[in-house]
């Protein structure tokens, strides 16, 4: 069963410690949400987990394999959307999905059925032959998600998946995440929207200044208050000489 693990992972940009000795685990069938303010380190953490950025120290593991040396077979099981959604403006929706599927190891023979399935799943049929440059922001986000998940990965990393989506898109993504996790996928998701994450996540970790500063109970009440109390506590701790995670 596939999992995502970060072991004391650290990354700095000059003097800025973006992620600081962070430990994290996402097990099979689990949706683990990370929430934090802008610049908390969410995107850097996800980039390290996907091998986009090398850690200064520590390790990122996918299915027990260090991402720095992960073979193609490991990446076949991974789908991600971090920052900019996949989508070449000159290609149509259907061409983009086919391109993403090919790069993710879907065979030429499976391409038609895989493409049709994902277009139906993300309700993109109406725009299937429209070029990506002509799509609304919301539909570009849907296209990006469709491309990330076209091969039904067992490891999913999504950065702000509900960005720009209309309410029906938000519900669609929520249902999709639940469905994939129920099927055994390990999902790491980041968001600014605590309430949205509380609806789908099994675990919510609060990230601040590159460290996990606490866990938020998805079934709890007044989640924002809990989050800001953690952030405030971390800032006070920092001023007094160090953050206690």
């Amino acid at each position: 069963m596939m999992s995502i693990v970060a072991e004391s992972i650290t990354r700095s940009y000059g003097d800025d410690l973006a992620v600081d000795h962070l430990d994290l685990e996402v097990g099979p069938g689990e949706i683990h949400a990370i929430v934090g303010l802008n610049g908390a380190g969410k995107t850097t953490l996800m980039r390290m987990l996907m091998g986009m950025v090398k850690p200064d120290s520590g390790r990122a593991l996918i299915d027990g394999v260090d991402v720095v040396s992960a073979p193609p077979a490991t990446w076949t099981q991974v789908g991600h959307m971090i920052e900019t959604p996949f989508g070449y403006p000159e290609l149509t929706v259907i061409e983009n999905i086919r391109a993403a599927a090919r790069l993710r190891g879907v065979s030429a023979g499976d391409l038609p059925s895989t493409t049709t399935a994902v277009i139906e799943r993300f309700e993109l049929g109406r725009w299937a032959h429209r070029r990506a440059r002509a799509l609304s922001m919301g539909n570009r986000q849907r296209l990006g998600l469709a491309c990330a998940l076209v091969h039904r990965p067992r490891i999913v990393v999504l950065d702000e998946p509900s960005n720009s989506l209309d309410p029906s898109g938000v519900v669609l993504v929520r249902d999709l995440m639940r469905h994939e996790a129920a099927g055994g996928a390990a999902m790491l998701v980041s968001s600014h929207h605590l309430d949205e994450m509380a609806r789908v996540a099994h675990r919510i970790s609060a990230l601040h200044r590159g460290r996990i500063i606490g866990a938020i109970d998805p079934d709890g009440v007044d989640l924002e208050r809990s989050f800001f109390e953690m952030v405030h506590g971390a800032e006070v701790g920092l001023r007094e000489g160090g953050i206690d995670a």
Binding site: M52, K54, A73, W75, M81, T84, E95, A99, L103, C147
Partner: protein, 254 residues
């Protein structure tokens, strides 16, 4: 590799940049050269005819193909270079590069596929330039194609292919600089430095200047560039391709 090739080929087929550059090269280079030869061989008077006459040696097909040699050297480098710069730079400028990580298809393979596709395209366009040039020449009343003319046209094809290969080296500065501007800067630098190398009589040893120098000298009956010197151009293109693939394999997002 097959997967990456099919994706890169699709992107190039849908690219307005590749279509515009390809059509401009295939139509403009032969048409411009035929027009200039007509000016020289026409009434022959006026300041423009005098200026063109300084660039042209011989008459008919020899003058025409000699002129194409000169125009194609820099024209193809710029035209093909723009497509190379677009092909690699767009991943950074359009911010699509992040989607090329964490895939079973490695980034080195994707870069290799880009180079193969764009080089294939440039060789196709180079060949088309020569074929269109022959067609326009026949229609333009330059007389029958004789052995000398065919030799000149063979030279044009060789220069066009070498220049296209050299343009692929722009992939590296575009990638390392992560966008279009570093690639364009490198292209300008190459064009200026090639002129300087010729000016200081070191052009034969400078791979970016050698093909053009060989063609121009050849059409005037001189031998200024030897075969080993000319062979530096494809060697440089190969080395550039290797370094580009290696860079793509190991780079991380900024």
């Amino acid at each position: 590799m097959r997967e990456a090739l099919s994706v890169e080929l699709l992107k190039l087929r849908r690219s307005p940049v590749a279509w515009t550059a390809g059509l401009a090269l295939v139509i403009l280079i032969p048409a411009l050269c035929l027009g200039l030869v007509s000016v020289v061989e026409g009434s022959g008077a006026g300041p423009m005819a005098e200026k063109v006459r300084a660039l042209v040696s011989g008459t008919g097909w020899v003058a025409y193909s000699g002129l194409i040699d000169q125009v194609a050297t820099s024209g193809l480098f710029v035209g093909v270079g723009i497509v190379v710069i677009w092909c690699f730079g767009r991943e950074f400028s359009d911010r699509t590069v992040g989607s090329l990580f964490a895939l079973p298809t490695s980034r080195g393979t994707i870069a290799g596929a880009k180079l193969i596709v764009v080089t294939g395209w440039s060789l196709f366009v180079s060949t088309l330039v020569v074929l269109v040039a022959v067609g326009l020449g026949l229609a333009g009343d330059l007389g029958p194609l004789n052995a000398a003319a065919l030799e000149e046209l063979g030279e044009v094809l060789a220069v066009a292919l070498l220049t296209s290969l050299l343009a692929s080296t722009l992939a590296l500065p575009t990638s390392v600089g992560r966008g279009y501007l570093p690639g364009i800067g490198a292209m300008v630098l190459v064009l200026v430095s090639a002129q300087m190398a010729v000016l200081f009589q070191a052009g034969a040893w400078y791979p970016f200047a050698a093909p053009g120098l060989w063609a121009v000298a050849g059409s005037q009956g001189e031998v200024l560039v030897t075969l080993p010197q000319l062979a530096m151009a494809p060697v440089l293109a190969l080395v550039g391709a290797g370094v580009t693939v290696r860079w793509w394999q190991g780079f991380e997002l900024a």
